[in-house]
Subunit: 158 residues, 2 copies
DNA sequence: AGTGATTAAGTCGTTCACGATTCAAATATA
DNA sequence: TATATTTGAATCGTGAACGACTTAATCACT
């Protein structure tokens, strides 16, 4: 990679296409989530709760790479929608346990049809399944590396 | 892909790792941009202006997949920092031309050192260059497909 | 037991994203 | 030429993200 002006252009960067792809994929989810009255980050929280039943705010954050300053207001909105329950732990009063309400559990059935719909809507595209699988694998590796990196940045600061 | 609960889990999805990777990479840019007093989206706008000198709000949006409701306030902030100029076109009073101030142009030199620093900070990682290049290629294809897709969703709505 | 550090959640302020809408200018069409 | 439609930018409201900070509870160590 040459250290000249070209390296500044969008096409040559990694961060921009990730940023664009993230926003664009979220937009594809949009109509389906709107039907359920959810935003994408709210859907992600439910996703981990459908998998783990009960988690602390901290544990949700570890899975989504988010912190309490983002999660607390979001969880309050999910609570207002009667989809989750928040309860302060009795063993450790610092932690708050988040779990699904009956409505929250019920929403899982509806949500299960989304991935298939998203995939179907891509039937006409030109990407090979093998390419996509490979891509996904690298993407997860990247997330892993980035998470460690950004953690070390944070610790370096402190 | 089976249409059961497993397909809901984060590990099996594409959108979540994109979302995570996007936020994590932005965080890596953080310290460098902070030195220049910029946010990542502001940096992106300067990036396209360093490449094209002058663009309308619309044209910037086409390159970054953003619309005026996001760009207008952002551009005003860049104007306040004296990095760009905004001038309503005389041929077509609807469009606003955005161009770089001298300070904005001067910032390019500083910005040029960032990509190398980011890359260097990844020296110790385990990803092969070839994998990364392949990944980047697929990522751009994906952005292209997603952009078309989300455009057709939008038009279908209208 | 006492105190100093750490930890989990929450608050606050700023900046994105984005849907819905408005407004004025330009274009198309009757 | 009138009028309808489209277009580019801007405004508004809501919900993320996130840095910096606060608060209260727990832990670690003497």
């Amino acid at each position: 990679m040459k250290d000249d002006a070209a390296s500044l252009y969008l096409e040559n960067q990694l961060c921009f296409p990730l940023y664009a792809a993230s926003r664009l994929t979220t937009k594809i989810y949009g109509p389906y989530l709107e039907n359920m009255g959810l935003t994408y980050p709210q859907y992600l929280v439910l996703l981990v709760l459908w998998q783990y039943e009960q988690l602390s705010v901290k544990e949700i954050g570890q899975r989504l790479y988010l912190e309490s300053n983002t999660l607390t207001p979001l969880l309050k909105r999910l609570e207002q929608k009667r989809l989750i329950l928040r309860k302060r732990s009795e063993e450790d009063e610092r932690t708050v346990h988040v779990s699904l309400s009956e409505e929250g559990k019920a929403l899982k059935k509806e949500a299960m049809s989304i991935p298939k719909k998203i995939i179907d809507s891509f039937q006409d595209n030109s990407m090979k399944d093998t390419d996509l699988l490979n891509f996904q694998k690298t993407l997860f590796e990247l997330v892993d590396i980035l998470a460690k990196k950004s953690l070390s940045i944070k610790e370096g600061k402190e």
